[in-house]
C-alpha cells in the first residue's frame, strides 16, 4: 500500500543521486558533515537577527558530539540546517560531499527520509499510532530499515510495542522516538534537547540508550543541549555562543551516561 501512496502522492520521488551512498561503506572517522562560513539571518520586520555568524566545523562518522550553548546561541539553528529543515543564508553545508545548501525541497525531504534520524525535546510521537507503529511509519518509507520490533528492543521497550503514546511515560515516549529515529539506520542522529522535558533519572536512561546506539551501530550522533552535564559523555563538545563556535573541546575520558546526574 505504501508504494501506491508514494507513487500517487509522493511528489518527491525524483531520485537524489548524490545521496545514493552506501552507508556501510563509510569508514569510521570519515567526514560526514562539513560546514563553511554558515550564517543565518532572520528578517524580523525592520531588524535583522543574526542567528549564525559564520560556522566552520566538521562532524565525523561514528562520533558523538554535544553542542553546548545558552539559549539564543544558535545551536538549534545549526542543527536545523544540518538536518535539512532550514537553509543557510550564506555558506555551504556538505553532507558526504553533497551540497545540502543547493538542494531543493524534494531532495531535502529524501535526505531526511533516508539519512537523518531526528529526536526532539517533546518526542513528537504520533498519538494515534502505537509504539511499534510509530516506528513503522518511518520504516515503511525507508530503504533497508530494521524491523520495528528490533528497534524497540534496542531501546528496551519491546514489551510496550502495542502501547499508544498516551499510555507511556515521558522517558518511554522519548525511547520510542529514539527507536523511530534509528530504525531507518540513519547515518546521523540529530537530537535537539532530548532530555529537556525529562527528569534527571529518566534523562539518564535516554542518554544511555543514545550512547548504546552510538557504540553498537556507530551512528554519528549530535546532541544539542544547554545542560553541561550531558557533555561529559561526548567525544567532542562544540561550544556555541552568539552564533559562533567559541570553542571545540576534545574529551579524552568519556563518562558513561549511567554515571551522569544533574
Amino acid at each position: 500500500m505504501r508504494n501506491i501512496f508514494q507513487d500517487v502522492l509522493g511528489g518527491d520521488t525524483a531520485p537524489v543521486d548524490a545521496l545514493d551512498i552506501d552507508l556501510r561503506s563509510v569508514e569510521m572517522g570519515d567526514v560526514v558533515f562539513e560546514t563553511q562560513g554558515v550564517t543565518k539571518v532572520y528578517e524580523m520586520g525592520e531588524t535583522q537577527v543574526h542567528a549564525l555568524r559564520g560556522i566552520d566545523l566538521e562532524l565525523h562518522a561514528g562520533e558523538m558530539v554535544v553542542m553546548l550553548g545558552p539559549s539564543g546561541s544558535g545551536k538549534s539553528t545549526l542543527l536545523n540546517i544540518i538536518g535539512g529543515l532550514d537553509t543557510a543564508t550564506e555558506g555551504t553545508v556538505h553532507y558526504r560531499g553533497w551540497d545540502l545548501t543547493r538542494a531543493d525541497e524534494a531532495q531535502l525531504t529524501l535526505y531526511r527520509r533516508f539519512h537523518v534520524g531526528f529526536i526532539f525535546q517533546f518526542y513528537n510521537l504520533i498519538p494515534s499510532l502505537t509504539a511499534e507503529e510509530n516506528v513503522a511509519i518511518v520504516t515503511e518509507i525507508a530503504r533497508d530499515p530494521m524491523e520495528p520490533r528490533a528497534a524497540l528492543d534496542l531501546v528496551g521497550l519491546a514489551d510496550r510495542a502495542d502501547h499508544f503514546p498516551a499510555e507511556l511515560s515521558g522517558g518511554q515516549q522519548q525511547r520510542v522516538a529514539i527507536a523511530r529515529a534509528v530504525a531507518k539506520r540513519p547515518s546521523v542522529l540529530l537530537c535537539d534537547e532530548p532530555t529537556g522535558a525529562l527528569d534527571s533519572d529518566t534523562g539518564v536512561i535516554v542518554l544511555d540508550v543514545l550512547q548504546t546506539i552510538n557504540d553498537e551501530l556507530g551512528t554519528t550522533t549530535a546532541i544539542i543541549t544547554h545542560n553541561q552535564v550531558v557533555s561529559k559523555m561526548a567525544q567532542r563538545v562544540i561550544h556555541l555562543s552568539d552564533g559562533r563556535v567559541s570553542e571545540i573541546e576534545e574529551i579524552a575520558e568519556q563518562v558513561s551516561a549511567r554515571e551522569l546526574a544533574w
Binding site: 531526511r112 531526528f118 526532539f120 511509519i137 499508544f164 499510555e167
Partner: protein, 806 residues
C-alpha cells in the same frame, strides 16, 4: 509580562486601564479575524445563504399574501357567487332583501370566441357586463391603462390577455357571441379580483394568449346575449355574523325558478381557489426549504465555531494568565463571532431582500395583482438572524466555557495527549491491510466519533439541500411528461356551446386532418361520502380512450367500467374512499338527479383533479342520451391550420384549445421561475457545502499541524502528509454521500408530501442526475478546499514544531 500588567492596574486610573485593555483586546479581535479571514468568510457565506434563503422565501410569501388581501379589500371582491340561466333584473331586489346579504351585484356573463387580426389561433373569451356608469358595487376593476368603457362599442381587456397580445387602448377585438360578430374597441386594460389567476374554465393553467376576459357595458352585452333586462350571474357579500351556508341556501331558493345552479362561496371561486392552493403550496416550500437551510446552516455554524474556538485554547489561557476574567474572555470571543454573524446577517438580509423582490416579481407573471406589497418583514429578519446568532453563540460559548473553566496553567498546555485505540476494522483482523498513515486516519476518526459524525452529517446535509433544490426541475419535467404524453395526448380539445348529439362526433371525424376524435361529456357534480363532500365535474369518456386516458399508479390506462366512477387520487383521499365503496353523487345540472354510484377505481393525476366515467354511463346518470360536450382530437400536422380554421368557423363550437401550444408557453415561463429558484437554491447549497468542508479542512489542519510537521521532518513528502490530512476529509465526504442521498430523499419526500395541493401533487421523482449533481458539487467543494489546504501544507513551519510542546 504578568508583572507589568499588575503594575499597570495599580498605577493607571481604573477607567483608563479599562479603555486601554478594551482597545488592545479589540485590536486582537480584528487581527484574529483578519488572520482567519478565509474561514470567517466561509462562515459568513453560510450565514448569508441561510438568512438570504429564509428572508427571500418568506418575503415572497408575505408579499403575495398581502398583495392578495389588499387587492381583495380595495376591489370589494365578492364573498359568494351564483350563476343562473336568466332572471329579470327586479329579482336583484329580492336577493338584496335576503337576511345575511350585505351587497348584491348582478351582471351578465357570456361565453364568446374572440378574434384578433394578428393572431390566427382560436381564442376563448369571457365577457362580463359593467354598469352603465362607474364601477360595479363588487368585483371592481383596477384600471391599468386607459379608462372604463362609456359607449356600447367599447371594452376593457384583462391585463393578462392584453399583455399576451400587446393590446392597448385603440386596438380592436372581435367578439363572436351566439354566432354574431361584434367589433369592439379596447379603451382600457384592467385587473379584476376575479381573475388574479386567469384560467379558462376546465383548464389548470393560465393560458393568457388563448383565454381573454373582456368587460363591456351591460346594455351591449344584454342585447348581444339576449339578456336585456335580465342577469345570469350574481355576486354577494355577507353582513357581519351571517351564516354563509344559510345565506347560500336562501339564494338558491330565490334563484331556483330561474335556473339557479348552486350558489357557491369565494373559496370555490376558480381564481381564488387556485390562488389559495398555489399560495398554500408556496407557503409549504417557503417554510420547509428555508427552515431546512437555516437549520443546516445553524448546525454547521455551531460545529465549526466550536472547533474554531477550541484551536484558540492556549490564547484563552494566556489572556486569563494576564488577568482577564472569564467574562472578559467570553465577551471577546462572542464579539469576534458576532462580527462574523453581523457580516453574514447584513449580507444575507440584503441579498434575501433583493432576491425576494425578484422572486415576487416573477410570481406576478402568474398572479395579476395591481401592486406588489413587498416589505422587509422585521420578524423574518429577527428570526433568521436570531437563529443563526444563537447557534453560533451556543457553539462559541460552549467552547469558550470549556477553555476558561480550566486553570490557565493547565489550559496553556495543549489538550492532554489524545488517547487512541485500534479501530473496529483493525480489531476485526483487517489491520494488516492498512499502512500507518491510513491507521492514523481511521483512528483519528474513531477517537472522536461524535465529531466525525457531526462533520459527516454536515456534509451530508449540504448534499441533501442540494438534492432538494434540483429535485423540482425533475419533478416538473416528470409531471409534464406524464400529463401530456400519457394522460392527455390530444392535439386539441373542441368544446361545444352546449350538450350536442353524437352526430357531431362523426362530423368532426370526417374533417380532413382529424385522425382520431374522442367524445367527452362534462357535468358539474357534488360527491358525498359520509360527512365529506367535494364539488367537481364528472368527465364522461369513451370506453377505450386512446387520447384522454386516466392512468393507474403504474401509469397504465385505467379501464373505465360500464358503471361506476374513477376518481383521481386527490379526490379519493379527500372523500376517503377506496375502490368498491359507494358514493352519493349530486348532479348540478339539468334535472339535478342525486344517485348512488360505486367507486370503480383511482387514477394517478399530478396536475389538477378529475372524476371519470364511461360517457354512456354518465349520460344515463344525467338522463340524457348520446349527448357530448366536446371532443378530443388528434390531428395530422400537415392539415393542422386548415382543421383549426374549419373548426373555429363552426357555430356550435364554443372553444378550440390547442393543448400543446397552450401549455408550452406557460411551461416556458414556469420553467424559468422554477429554474431561477432552483439555481438560487443550488448556489446557496453549494456555498454552504463549500463553507462546511473548507472549515472542516482548515480546522483539521490547525489541529494537526504539529503532527503533520513532525512527519515532514521524519522525511514524509507533502503528498504523504496531504494523504493523512485530506484522506480523513475524503473519507468523511465519501461516507457523507450515501447518507446525504438518504437525507435528501427524505427531505424531498417531505417537501413533495407537504406541497400537495388540489392543483399539483409533486411526484417524488429523483433522477440519477440529481444525485450525481449534488454529489458532484460536494466533491468539487471538497476538492477546492483540499487544494487550499494542500497549498498551506507546503508552508508548514517545521522548525517551530521542534521547539513547541504538543
Amino acid at each position: 509580562m504578568e508583572d507589568r500588567g499588575q503594575t499597570a492596574k495599580f498605577h493607571i486610573p481604573n477607567s483608563t486601564f479599562h479603555t486601554r485593555t478594551v482597545f488592545a483586546i479589540g485590536k486582537k479581535l480584528l487581527r484574529d479575524l483578519w488572520g482567519m479571514r478565509g474561514q470567517a468568510l466561509a462562515i459568513a457565506v453560510v450565514i448569508v445563504s441561510g438568512v438570504a434563503m429564509f428572508i427571500a422565501a418568506l418575503g415572497t410569501m408575505d408579499a403575495l399574501t398581502r398583495s392578495q388581501r389588499s387587492f381583495y379589500e380595495n376591489a370589494r371582491f365578492g364573498e359568494a357567487f351564483a350563476s343562473l340561466k336568466r332572471a329579470p333584473t327586479d329579482v336583484e331586489r329580492r336577493l338584496q332583501a335576503l337576511e345575511g346579504v350585505a351587497t348584491v351585484q348582478t351582471r351578465v356573463i357570456a361565453d364568446a370566441r374572440l378574434d384578433l387580426a394578428a393572431f390566427d389561433e382560436p381564442i376563448t373569451g369571457q365577457l362580463l357586463s359593467l354598469p352603465e356608469r362607474g364601477q360595479p358595487a363588487l368585483n371592481r376593476l383596477v384600471v391599468r391603462e386607459g379608462r372604463l368603457p362609456r359607449r356600447g362599442t367599447e371594452t376593457v381587456a384583462s391585463e393578462a390577455f392584453a399583455e399576451a397580445h400587446d393590446l392597448h387602448p385603440g386596438d380592436k377585438v372581435t367578439a363572436i357571441i351566439n354566432g354574431r360578430h361584434r367589433s369592439l374597441t379596447i379603451v382600457g386594460v384592467v385587473l379584476s379580483p376575479e381573475y388574479v389567476y386567469q384560467i379558462q374554465p376546465g383548464g389548470f393553467f393560465p393560458t393568457p394568449e388563448r383565454f381573454g376576459v373582456l368587460w363591456v357595458p351591460r346594455a351591449t352585452l344584454g342585447a348581444a346575449y339576449g339578456m336585456e333586462g335580465a342577469f345570469n350571474s350574481a355576486s354577494f357579500t355577507f353582513t357581519a355574523g351571517a351564516n354563509p351556508q344559510n345565506v347560500l341556501d336562501r339564494v338558491d331558493e330565490v334563484l331556483a325558478p330561474y335556473g339557479g345552479r348552486d350558489a357557491y362561496l369565494r373559496e370555490d371561486q376558480v381564481s381564488h381557489r387556485y390562488l389559495t392552493e398555489e399560495l398554500k403550496q408556496l407557503e409549504q416550500l417557503a417554510t420547509t426549504m428555508p427552515v431546512t437551510f437555516l437549520a443546516v446552516a445553524a448546525f454547521l455554524l455551531n460545529v465549526v465555531i466550536g472547533r474554531l474556538i477550541r484551536t484558540q485554547r492556549e490564547v484563552i489561557a494566556t489572556l486569563k494568565a494576564f488577568g482577564y476574567s472569564d467574562w472578559a474572555v467570553g465577551r471577546h470571543y462572542v464579539g469576534m463571532v458576532l462580527v462574523i454573524v453581523a457580516i453574514g446577517a447584513v449580507g444575507g438580509t440584503a441579498l434575501g431582500t433583493w432576491l425576494g423582490r425578484l422572486l415576487s416579481q416573477m410570481y406576478l407573471q402568474f398572479y395579476k395583482f395591481p401592486e406588489l406589497h413587498y416589505s422587509l418583514g422585521i420578524e423574518t429578519v429577527v428570526v433568521s438572524v436570531g437563529v443563526t446568532a444563537l447557534a453560533v453563540l451556543g457553539g462559541t460559548l460552549y467552547a469558550v466555557w470549556q477553555a476558561v473553566s480550566l486553570r490557565p496553567a493547565q489550559a496553556m498546555q495543549p489538550e492532554p495527549p489524545a488517547t487512541y485505540r485500534e479501530t473496529i476494522v483493525e480489531r476485526l483482523g483487517l489491520k494488516a491491510l492498512f499502512d500507518q498513515p491510513t491507521r492514523m486516519i481511521l483512528r483519528h476518526l474513531e477517537r472522536r466519533p461524535l465529531k466525525a459524525l457531526l462533520s459527516m452529517l454536515g456534509i451530508a446535509a449540504s448534499i441533501a439541500i442540494l438534492m432538494t433544490s434540483t429535485f423540482f426541475a425533475d419533478a416538473v419535467d416528470y409531471m409534464i411528461d406524464v400529463q401530456f404524453n400519457r394522460a392527455q395526448r390530444q392535439d386539441l380539445t373542441v368544446t361545444f356551446t352546449g350538450p350536442t348529439s353524437d352526430e357531431a362526433l362523426y362530423e368532426l371525424k370526417s374533417l380532413r386532418g382529424v385522425t382520431t376524435a374522442e367524445p367527452f361529456r362534462s357535468v358539474p357534480a357534488r360527491f358525498r361520502h359520509e360527512h365529506r363532500q367535494y364539488r367537481t365535474g364528472i368527465e364522461g369518456l369513451s370506453p377505450h380512450p386512446v387520447l384522454r386516458r386516466p392512468l393507474t399508479d403504474d401509469l397504465e390506462p385505467v379501464p373505465l367500467s360500464a358503471e361506476g366512477v374513477v376518481l383521481s387520487d386527490y379526490i379519493a383521499d379527500v372523500l376517503a374512499v377506496e375502490r368498491g365503496d359507494t358514493l352519493t353523487v349530486e348532479v348540478l345540472e339539468g334535472t339535478r338527479p342525486t344517485r348512488k354510484i360505486r367507486v370503480a377505481g383511482r387514477t394517478k393525476q399530478f396536475i389538477g383533479v378529475g372524476t371519470y366515467m364511461q360517457i354512456d354511463a354518465l349520460n344515463r346518470l344525467v338522463r340524457e342520451g348520446g349527448a357530448l360536450s366536446g371532443a378530443y382530437l388528434a390531428l395530422d400536422p400537415r392539415y393542422e391550420e386548415e382543421t383549426i380554421s374549419a373548426l373555429t368557423r363552426r357555430p356550435g363550437v364554443a372553444s378550440v384549445q390547442l393543448q400543446q401550444r397552450a401549455v408550452q408557453s406557460l411551461l416556458d415561463t414556469m420553467g424559468e421561475t422554477v429554474l431561477t429558484f432552483t439555481f438560487v437554491m443550488a448556489l446557496f447549497a453549494g456555498a454552504i457545502a463549500f463553507g462546511v468542508i473548507y472549515n472542516a479542512a482548515r480546522i483539521a489542519l490547525s489541529e494537526r499541524a504539529r503532527e503533520l510537521a513532525s512527519l515532514r521532518i521524519l522525511g514524509f513528502s507533502q503528498g504523504e502528509i496531504g494523504y493523512v490530512l485530506l484522506g480523513e476529509l475524503a473519507l468523511l465526504t465519501l461516507l457523507a454521500i450515501p447518507v446525504g442521498f438518504a437525507m435528501g430523499y427524505g427531505l424531498c419526500y417531505g417537501t413533495a408530501v407537504g406541497a400537495q395541493t388540489e392543483l399539483f401533487r409533486i411526484p417524488l421523482v429523483l433522477e440519477r442526475r440529481t444525485y450525481a449533481l449534488s454529489a458532484l458539487v460536494v466533491l468539487i467543494a471538497g476538492l477546492a478546499s483540499g487544494v487550499v489546504v494542500w497549498r498551506r501544507l507546503g508552508n508548514l513551519n517545521l522548525v517551530d514544531v521542534l521547539k513547541t510542546r504538543e
